[in-house]
Symmetry: D2
Subunit: 480 residues, 4 copies
């Protein structure tokens, strides 16, 4: 309510009560004022009431919600269902306009504010995570895969002859698909085994780029590095690869899907931006900031490619992923985000130790993957005699309400992705010497949750062992 | 957002967009301003967005929602469950304070505004319904029965010797119970049959009052009249009864539970207030204004008793019923309320004709009850041979998703209510000559709804007739 | 969804996914099954999703929400506003029916389930709080004051000649008003000062009862004891008073508004029920269970009076307070409730020590009130020279967002409540020797909240001291 | 609740009430059963309660909502903010998986059901709109522009040499941008003027394709036709163009952004699919089905390209646009959708007549554009003397709360879009002979809304005329 209305309220309730209320209200207006004028992530997260009040205020700024609005265009943000209108807080115009996806819309001042401010908050958040050299970000209402496709398409507008992407193997389908969707060719470079860990084969990448460029100069569009991945694969050598790209004069995209939650990874990305070529780093909003799937953040020190993606985006897009991030970052505040990140870093060594104990008790072991700051792997070589038997472990865990465990069998099948055959798909390597399961210490995981996982895993491994023992006995009996 | 924040927004989105948004926002602020300064039911109902925005604004005025609030009292409106907090829009301090139930609370300026304004809106609404002489109202978070009890208790503080209530019989339990709960004695006066209709026996009421007063002067606290009731009972002779009370010097309460929706009844109440004694008229918020059960409105021309109830109410109360009425009246506006009332008046003759047709087709008839403007009754004398068989009709209708039909059998049982025996309880009369069913043309009933009722009733009567025919045939066969 | 629909889902998504989902769903159905069959407070609180799903299920059981429903009664739970419908989860029939306020309604099976189960959950909750001998409870949609009025009215139906209530003074208006509202006379017995504490004068109560009974046998309806009150008043001698009542043959109600949160008080009430006469103990739902204002729980070992109130209640009532308690108790679970109670008990000594330190630093002291387990008081004798100056402290604290502090000045004015004059109203005593402020360690208070209070109090006392010093200097200068 | 729980409820409320409730519940289960087994748009729309209950049921099927779930993956649908969780009904896993964007996710059976069923409902809806030959659809969480980009990228995987898109000019930026984003070249073919209408120059298209193919065989990827556009441009000759494409052996995409709401356009598309080549028709969900911006539907008779897009989509995507369409189509039902479409068709001639009258009164005229079934245009040649003065009309209307009007001046400037210069951008033509304004008769427009527009337009034109007259007088006076 404006000051005039607080005045009017004094005719209804005692003036002193109205004044006190107005003072309380001003406190909230000041939070909004700070946000609009400083455009920074607030230190303390906002309470739900403040956020909801602000969302209602913002909705009231969109023309489709004006009391007397009459719309005679072809898109007037009419919403048929009350359920749908409410879940969008009645902001229905989406984000972006023909100019670019971060542009303000004249019909939708409130939605535009959300969009613009979220971009600023996201920049702050990315820096708080440790990627302090990020200077430009774009929040896309597209998940990581599509965001990489968009970045590749934008990159190609700068390097028209580019048609090859050199990529160090990581067995996540959407990665290869995002390159193929852009109409580009993937040149896969296998990783090398160092101890238990799978690491980037930088010389092979250099060789691949050089050979392709020799054949057809300008044909290598870029290298795509992956900094967040399942153990036992290690994140890409994120400082060395950019130098290589700078030296060879090819583009460089980083698939950092869930790497923002690791301070180490984020700091390395910062260093990489300073010392080599990084056109854009792509990260998922859901995996790093605990929102529903659907958004990503492009970040870089150099704004060129990011602005190119922004300007290239054809038309409007769903405002949902941006709204989710907006609400979430306001609710977290800088302090809340820092605390979440710290909790994850603290939990990691505990989780490592606990999983190692589970492994040892069964004659297995935790794979030694010190460079992977999020994903852990323990061998399951003694669980089952075949890929089929081993994957049963995953199914059993899932039916015990454990989600997210992957079981990879050393003798797993090959698979064709986007037209290319990968051996032992899932293992990131043609011949990884162990079967293993992976579990992630991801942001938001809690100690009790992890402990419950460890116990259910122990129990399930125990049951499988018993079943095998029985089976062996039966087989022995049958054979006798 | 205040003007300062719209200014700040100009740094984020183009200034022209922000200005247009501010203009749109001002339109809503003006709606609120009108409400706070005129305190009248707005002509046009408010849209949901405006109401919700206003509710959030109001919540922000309650101290428990202040960003920095620290509460060290014994009642600080802490709410444990988010579900509960949200359904109350975070207003948790209830209504009233020790002073009176309509008083403002220092800790809860927003809740207090809701409470105060609702009282004004309710007065407007009562007048729009036709009770134009109402000059004072009180919205109680109590349903009709308890509201009558409260009015009786307040009346007794004015007339200490009063211990008898003279009451024309109407077979609704809560009515008798509301008198008994106040610790008073009921003197029941039976109605008289005029044609099909049961009417108030005014001479008998006069006789009852006079006789009791002769025995013990001052012992008759008041007469309680009932103006909304099931056909074939007619509403009380609402203009004559008050004159009688004025002449005899006893109090007069009117139980007008759902009578506000009838313009005729409301106009008569106005007349009654001008010409005789009416201490308070009690009406239900749910039955007249389509809110959930739980509130009532006390109204009168003379504010004495109403202020007495207000001042007598001990402590705080739930704000729920007041909030529901507040939201509903804002959503309706004067125009919406008038339109609802008009629709009901239009539907009544159609419903009467349709029910008469259903009745005739089965050899029954619509009871002639021209004075009852809401409830209709048709005989079901030929349906079943006993009370038990007849009430089966009600059960069958209910299982066909028809609710609200009452079947009253001419040979129904007696019942004891609040210690007193009533013959043929439910029929409002010791010996009503017909069995019948009732249906109401209540506010909010729609034409398609009524038509569906008529069809299901036809079908059910048909099925019962067939069952009886079969039963008779079987009995005949058995007897042969 | 029922089993058939999970089967149908297998035609849309892979059967194994549907099965897993069905298993997850069954887990929730089992929570509901336990609740419906055991009717006990669950050990662990339910998550929001389960509660909301259950509320939607319950709503679907009310006839007004049946897909094909046609209503032709005068009360059909039609709800005009979507906002209102949603905040009640579309349950609009209220609680109770003419029979009694805890009765099931045929039209509203879902609402009735909520009502019935809440009564059981409330009994469990009352026992968990320590009132283990409670055997019967009633949840009333009335706050404490009105609940006491209702209990007094019910008691009078059992003891028709009763018209006096003997009551040990406690300066809360709603208490006296609740007696007056029932049309009864209050006989006030002043407390006695023992050290800093105000205690019940049991001999005086006995004398008052005896004297009144001698004058007019049967005229004393009951004694009303108060077990939760502001320091320096102590809770009533709750075990001795009931014995007295039993011996004298008069009724005994206990106003235990917020006493349930103290294990000591609750245990004493249990003992009192076993050893003496306790007709009913009345407690607030908001103060003990963190729901919005509006409900209360009547509890006793002997169900007589409680069932009388239940049966006497005229008609229906708002379901809001019951729904709030239902949701809250399910969300808490027994474990959550125990944890809240434990936190409060742990915080009490810390709060006492901290407040004592604040007091000492200013030359004041914490009043020694060891028997009051919730409210604390510190002297403010040196703050200001008059009642007016002292109450400024309260206003200053409130404007610094501290709510709930009461400042009572030793020279405060008299006040008339419900027709009776009280000297130094607010102090519970005609001549309490100190000015003081009170603060409560109520359930839900957190450590940071209390610490913020202590700091703001320190600062405010400091400012007042400075202002006084300046004033004195100025006065000195002026006098010089 | 399952049958067992209804049984358990019989121990709490009377069994007959529980049975009736169960019967009511079964009615809703049957609606769900029909949906899951028939996978068709229901005839009658569902009420809000049924939809919300179903959404809660679906959410309960997603593993992140299982009561005992423990997630140790890198993406576990943890949601930080309650506001965000609730607005997604706690379904947070998005849609799609690496396989394809319409695939089911093992962790999210509920979300997957939503996704799968929405695809079926969308197919039904597209057919009800008149595009009866549609046999395959895909709902993309991308607005029209991006959806066209995706379709072009998928088409190029089939026709590797394709790099040119032949396109009949329509001045909407996102159209050109969607082609450029895919890395393709646009060959623009200007329309021809037939009376007031701008029509497709089919011979010029044929010439363009042939010439390009001659130069470089296989280089023309496709023709992109536009079937919904602002008057005075007419929709593409949608039956002839596909035949041409079939004959010439090039692809054919149709940008039917908001054309689905016109039965004529939809029927022509059906015919086009039967008689010529249509790889995919792209339509917006917001413009045709009244949901917030963010989704589109790809439809075709031949599923090849649609399945290619589905399979090419890299990774997951926001479930928001799909959820919105799901809820909306369930709420509409087939009957609701038909009724909306009919209302629009009925309003069109009225709007045409009304706008013609407004025009004539000002010496302007309605442009004769009989082939455009949605957008209307009236000349504003006499409004202002320059482009700048004319566009003031648009600004004035917008500040009077009319949104969606476009004013196009005959002397408007050129503009560069995606690197290409367009003369008189906005007019779809290098030299359109009139200045005009456009207004659309879009689905959801109401009669009162349109009438308000006409009146505000009249008033604004009047004001502008007065201002001009004054200006002329002043100029005359100055000149005299």
């Amino acid at each position: 309510m404006n000051a005039e209305n607080f005045e009017a309220a004094c005719g209804v309730i005692p003036a002193s009560y109205a004044r006190q209320a107005q003072q309380g209200r001003r406190r909230r207006e000041n939070l909004i004022k700070s946000l609009l004028s400083q455009r920074r992530l607030p230190d303390e997260g906002w309470d739900e009431e403040t956020i909801e009040l602000f969302l209602h205020e913002l909705a009231a700024m969109d023309s489709n919600n004006f009391v007397d609005n009459v719309g005679v265009g072809e898109r007037e943000a009419r919403v048929y269902s009350g359920i749908v209108a409410r879940r969008h807080y009645r902001m229905a115009h989406g984000v972006g306009r023909s100019g670019d996806v971060a542009a303000s819309q004249p019909k939708a001042a409130g939605s535009s504010l959300v969009n613009s401010i979220t971009r600023r908050l996201a920049l702050d958040a990315v820096r708080i995570c440790g990627f302090v050299d990020a200077a430009s970000v774009l929040v896309l209402p597209l998940a990581t895969g599509m965001a990489i496709t968009m970045a590749l398409l934008a990159l190609r507008q700068q390097r028209k002859a580019g048609r090859v992407v050199v990529w160090s193997r990581v067995d996540q389908k959407s990665c290869v698909k995002s390159i193929a969707a852009a109409g580009l060719e993937v040149e896969v470079v296998e990783g090398v085994l160092e101890g238990d860990e799978l690491r980037t084969d930088l010389p092979a990448i250099e060789a691949a780029v050089s050979s392709r460029e020799r054949e057809a100069p300008g044909s290598v569009l870029c290298v795509v590095s992956t900094t967040s991945c399942f153990a036992p694969r290690a994140p890409e050598r994120v400082v060395k690869a950019p130098r290589l790209c700078a030296r060879l004069g090819v583009g460089h995209l980083v698939n950092n899907a869930y790497g923002l939650q690791s301070a180490r990874t984020a700091h390395k990305l910062s260093k990489a931006c300073r010392r080599g070529r990084v056109d854009a780093v792509v990260q998922s909003t859901d995996k790093n900031f605990m929102v529903p799937v659907g958004g990503s953040i492009l970040a870089a020190k150099d704004p060129t490619l990011i602005e190119a993606v922004n300007g290239m985006y054809p038309g409007r897009a769903s405002s949902g992923p941006v709204l989710d991030l907006f609400v979430t970052l306001l609710a977290m505040g800088a302090a809340g985000l820092r605390s979440l990140l710290r909790q994850r870093e603290e939990l990691l060594p505990e989780m490592r130790a606990r999983l190692a104990a589970v492994a040892e008790a069964r004659g297995e072991r935790l794979l030694h993957t010190p460079r992977n700051p999020i994903s852990l792997a323990m061998t399951v070589d003694k669980v089952g005699a075949s890929a089929r038997e081993r994957t049963q472990l995953g199914a059993m865990l899932y039916s015990r309400c454990v989600s997210g465990v992957r079981v990879v069998s050393a003798d797993g099948p090959s698979q064709k992705v986007a037209g290319r055959e990968f051996r032992h798909y899932g293992a990131h390597h043609d011949a990884y010497p162990h079967s293993y399961l992976t579990a992630a210490c991801a942001v938001g995981l809690t100690r009790p949750e992890f402990e419950a996982f460890a116990q259910r895993l122990e129990r399930t491994l125990g049951e499988l062992a018993k079943m095998r023992a029985k089976g062996a006995a039966a087989a022995g009996a049958a054979g006798a």
